[in-house]
Structures are given as C-alpha cells and as structure tokens.
C-alpha cells in the first residue's frame, strides 16, 4: 500500500458544501479544495465550461460509500466525522441563497419595469428571467434535494415556496402595470413566463405526490400477491395441518407438532399485518405456542383493544406464569383473554382442568401465591384465582390499572 501510488476513486464527499463535487475532485487529485473551486469559477467564465464540467461530474460521480477509506481520510480533519456516516450533509443553504437571488432579481426587475417604462428599455427582461430561473431552482432544490435532509427540508420548504410565490406574483403584477403600457406584447409574455415559474416552484411537490402514489400502488399489488399466496396455502398446507390435528387429537404429539407448524406458517404469512415491536398480546401468543409444544394443551389467545403494556412488564410475567400453570396442571383447552382499555389492562386465563382451591395449596408451593398474586400486588395491580364458572377448571384474573396519562 505504501509503495503503490495511492489512486483514489473519484467520489463525492457526503459532508459537502453543495454537491460534494469540488471536494471529491480535490480528494481525487490531491489538490486543496480552494484551488479546485477557483478553477471551476475561472473556467465557468470561459463560456460556461466550468459549469458544464461541474454539472457533468455532479450527475456521473457516485457518493462516497459510508466509511470508504479514501473519502474520510482525505477529507481532512474537519470533515472526517461526518463523511464516515451514510447521511449527506450539505453545509450551504442553497435553497435560501437561490430564493434570495430570486427576490433581489425580482425587485430589480420591478423597479426597472415600473419607474422607467420606455419603448426601448429592455433591462428588466434579464432581471425577470434571472428571478424566474432562480425561483424554479430554489423550488426544485427544496422539493428534491433538501427534502431528504431532516434538519432543513420540511422546515424550509413552505417558507421558501410562500416567499417565491408572493415575489413572483408581485413581479407579474408590476410587469402588467408598468412595462405593459409601452411594450404590451413583451410584457404579457414575460408575465406569463413568471406565472409558469410559480407553477414550476410547486412542481416538485406534485412529482413527489405522484411517486408516492406509484409506490403505494406497488406496495398494494405486493400485498395482494401475498394474500393470494396466503389463500393458496390456506387451501393446502394449513388445511392438512388442521386435519392432522383433528384426526390425531388436540393433545397428541402429532397434533401438537402440526399445531406448532401451523402457527409458524401462519405468523410467517401474516407478519405483514403485525408490528415487529413485541407487545403483550404478541408475547403471550408466542409463549402459548411454546407451551403447546411442551404440554398437552391447546391455548387460544384473544386480544382486544390497544394495549400499551409491554411484554417485559410484571403483568406479562404473571400472565405467563398463569398460562404455565394451566398448561402443566390442567391441560386441554385454555383460553387467554386480554383486554386493554385506556384505563386498565385485564388478562384472564381460563382452563378446564380439575381446578384447585388456593386456600388448600401448601405453604411451600410458591407458584400461585408468589409468582402471580404477590407479583401483581407488588406491581400495583391485582390478581384473583378462582374456580371457573360452573365449578369447572380455574380462572385467573390479572388486572393492572394504568396510570393516568401524564401531560
């Protein structure tokens, strides 16, 4: 590495002033950035060659890869931090500069067009053109480029558009009132161009809206294909798994394995509709699936309402303990019902086993007393263990009052 001449790929710096072209070229050539910038400025005066070269490099040069060795090392001490990360940081407020330029040009044009209207005065035409071009540039910049920058995009977008709209409207009005009296056709065309400029300021927003709609449609089509596949699998694999469970009996080994497979396949098919973030219901469902593999039990988890309760809480631990008890001692069909209202979360675990009387449980058995009732009491909730309706099985009710929402 030290013997070979270090040739650096031409890439644009992510921590840049405008587009990273000058900085990237400087890194590539090993020149100071200032020299490159001056060279661009000088050649820009030679019939715009510098501008063309700049645009060409801008369009064709890729961004530096995050953490690319050449990019961050050559970027110098001041830039080393940001150029390693993936985000593009533009230090120059290009949209605001362009907006200001447009405002100044428009003011000049207004003054020229209204104070000295004469048949051969044409100085207001280049000023108007500059105002419109700068406005369109600023609109495109906020709409396409700054948009992705969370620190600048949304905050700057609306003010820039409003300022540009007002200024260009005033300019169009001034042209109609001032220059139109002496040069009606030219002024009319110019005013029309100014109005088109206003429309172009908003064009990026419409382009983005169109893109969003297209993306949305693509996503919908993908979802449809997915649910179509889900329907096919319902017709074949899931049916067979259900049949196996049915024929083998819910608590047999084959039945439990089939049920576990069914759950796995089902969660894979439907993972699009459930959030990845694990809430209480999701957690208890997973736990139920695990229990079904280990015990001869069939657990149905029904969740209602929006639960803010996290899976890591005491309530979840107590609920898991109750489910484990039901699976271990009762087996058969177990129903877990979960209801989250804005004020409280309720969990019911109902089994249809032999049932037991909490008062008759020996003192040394800590399962129910400590893991469920004690735990809920310590967490500020409540737990009751009672015989199920009709004297069949056991029902555990856990309740946790959520605090009033803090301001």
């Amino acid at each position: 590495m030290s013997t070979a001449l270090p040739v650096r790929r031409l890439v644009r710096r992510r921590d840049c002033l405008v587009a990273g072209v000058a900085g990237g070229l400087a890194d590539h050539l090993g020149w100071p950035v200032l020299v490159v910038r001056l060279a661009f400025a000088a050649t820009a005066l030679l019939g715009g060659a510098g501008v063309l070269l700049y645009a060409w490099l801008w369009a064709l040069t890729p961004w530096a890869e995050p953490g690319e060795p050449g990019a961050s090392r050559m970027a110098g001490a001041s830039d080393a931090g940001a150029s390693g990360s993936g985000r593009v940081v533009r230090r120059a407020p290009v949209a605001i500069v362009l907006t200001s330029l447009s405002v100044v040009a428009a003011l000049v044009a207004i003054v020229l067009a209204t104070t000295r209207p004469s048949a051969d005065a044409t100085e207001w035409i280049p000023a108007t053109a500059l105002a419109v071009l700068a406005a369109v540039g600023a609109g495109a910049w906020v709409g396409f480029i700054d948009r992705t920058d969370p620190e600048r995009g949304p905050r700057v977008e609306l003010p820039v558009r409003i300022v540009l709209t007002v200024v260009l409207l005033v300019l169009a009005g001034a042209l109609m009132l001032g220059a139109a009296r002496v040069q009606p056709v030219t002024a009319l065309v110019a005013a029309l161009v100014v109005l088109i400029g206003i429309a172009l300021v908003y064009a990026p927003a419409f382009v983005r809206l169109w893109r969003d709609l297209t993306d949305e449609r693509v996503r919908r089509i993908r979802d449809e294909q997915r649910s179509e596949m889900a329907a096919h699998l319902h017709d074949s694999v899931l049916q067979t798994l259900a049949l196996i469970q049915n024929r083998a009996g819910a608590s047999s080994d084959a039945g439990r394995l089939a049920r576990a497979q069914e759950r796995e396949l089902r969660s894979w098919l439907h993972d699009g509709d459930a959030s990845a973030d694990s809430d209480l219901a999701t957690d208890l469902r997973d736990f139920a699936a695990a229990l079904e593999l280990d015990y001869a039990v069939r657990i149905e988890v029904v969740a209602v309402g929006m639960s803010e309760e996290r899976a890591s809480g005491e309530l979840a631990a107590a609920a898991r303990e109750a489910m484990l008890n039901a699976a271990r001692h009762a087996g058969g069909d177990v129903t877990v019902y979960l209801e989250g209202s804005p004020r409280a979360v309720d969990v019911y675990v109902r089994d249809r086993g032999a049932g037991f009387d909490p008062a008759e449980v020996p003192q040394d058995r800590l399962g129910v007393r400590e893991s469920i009732i004690g735990r809920m009491r310590r967490a500020g909730g409540s737990a009751t263990v009672a015989r199920g309706a009709g004297g069949e099985g056991t029902e555990v009710h856990l309740r946790y009052e959520t605090e009033a929402p803090r301001g």
Binding site: N246, R259, S341, G388, G390
Partner: protein, 224 residues
C-alpha cells in the same frame, strides 16, 4: 343426548375430499351428510337441490367468479336468498379478520375453526340449525375490538347498529374468555335463551352495521 335432537340434513362444502370425509366421519349420529361440494359452482348447485338444514361452508373455495370475494362468501351471496330455511356455518383454518367478517356479513350464522373437534362441530351445527349464532372466543374478541368495546363505547339504545349494548359486551367478553353459553348464563344470572338472544343480536349488528372498522376490511383492497 344426540338422539333427543332432531336429525339434521347437512351439506359439507370444502375443496379437500380428505377433509370432507374426515368431517363426515367425525360428525355425530344425529347429523346426516346429504351432499358434498368442492367448489363455488357445485356448492350452489348442491345446496339449491338438497335444501339442507345446515351448510358447513369453507371460507376459501376455488371457482369463484369474483376474485375479491373469498369463495365461501360468494356461495352465501348467490345461494342464501334462494334457500331461506338453510343456515350456513362457516368453517375455516383462517382466523384473519377480513375472512371472518367477510363471510359473516355475507350471511353465515356462525364461525368455527377447523381445529375444532367433531363434537364441537356437531354442537355448533345443532346450535345454528335451531337459529342460534355460534361464536368462537376469537370471533367474540374480534367483535369487541371492531365495535370499540375496549375504548368504552356503549350503545345508548338497544337497536343501535354501530355499538354494542352493555349486556352484549358482557356476553361477548365471557365468550372471549372461553365460557360456554350456559356458563355465561350462570355467571350473569340470566337464562341460556337470553344469552342466545344477545349473541344473535350481536350477529345481526355484525352483519348490518356500517361501522367503519367493519367495512374497512372489505373496501381496503379496492381503494386504488
């Protein structure tokens, strides 16, 4: 117990012959399977010909003309009005909300999952035949969710379609907690018949309500 009840004529509609024969063997003696069908077209034909008491209807069926509708719902829409005395009980491996709500709104009197045992299915068939609705815990939970019960929405009048009355919510909660109808009745100190009335009324709301959450599933797929 089965002998006291009237014999029921049942048609089984499912696209898997293995499942049909399995179900046929599992159903108890009071139930006669008078016909079977494996797709939308043959299901409609058999149902119209046999005019059974109960149709056990798979939600996902091949051969539907309308791709946006699950096959089972299409059978219901096209056949149910021709045979007013026939009740439909939906049977599916799916517990997705849009499948459940689709087939219930199309007119099914109940919904059970295919994991249910032969006894459970037989009991559900008898319940549906006598005019009751059959709710699984999951369907009850779904109803509570869809009608905003957890958020504290309670119907002011009994005939309000978009919300559940307080009593209906209690019944649905107990069913969601895994209670059988007679256990619900014992817990609430009402008769089993009253429980059945409440469940039927919830089913009617589920079928007729224009509540946004209920219709959203049906329309979401066709928005664009």
């Amino acid at each position: 117990m089965a002998d006291e009840r009237a014999r029921l004529r049942v048609v089984v509609v499912d696209d898997h012959s293995i499942f049909r024969s399995g179900l046929r063997a599992d159903l108890d003696a009071s139930i006669d399977v008078v016909g079977e069908a494996s797709d939308v077209g043959s299901a409609i034909e058999v149902v119209l010909r046999e005019r059974p008491d109960v149709v056990l209807l798979d939600v996902h069926l091949p051969g539907g003309a309308d791709a946006s509708l699950a096959g089972g719902a299409e059978v219901l829409r096209r056949a149910a009005s021709e045979v007013p005395s026939t009740r439909f009980l939906a049977l599916s491996v799916s517990d997705k909300a849009e499948d459940v709500v689709g087939v219930i709104r199309a007119g099914a009197r109940g919904y059970i999952t295919k994991g249910a045992s032969g006894d459970e299915v037989s009991r559900a068939v008898h319940a549906v035949a006598s005019g009751d609705a059959v709710f699984s815990p999951r369907l009850a939970g779904f109803v509570l969710d869809a009608f905003g019960a957890a958020g504290g929405e309670v119907a002011a009048a009994d005939d309000e379609l978009d919300r559940l009355s307080g009593r209906e919510q209690e019944v649905m909660r107990l069913i969601a907690r895994g209670y059988a109808y007679k256990e619900v009745a014992a817990t609430l100190f009402i008769s089993t018949k009253t429980v059945e009335t409440h469940v039927s009324s919830v089913l009617r709301k589920l079928q007729l309500s224009s509540r946004h959450e209920l219709t959203a599933w049906a329309t979401a797929r066709r928005l664009l």
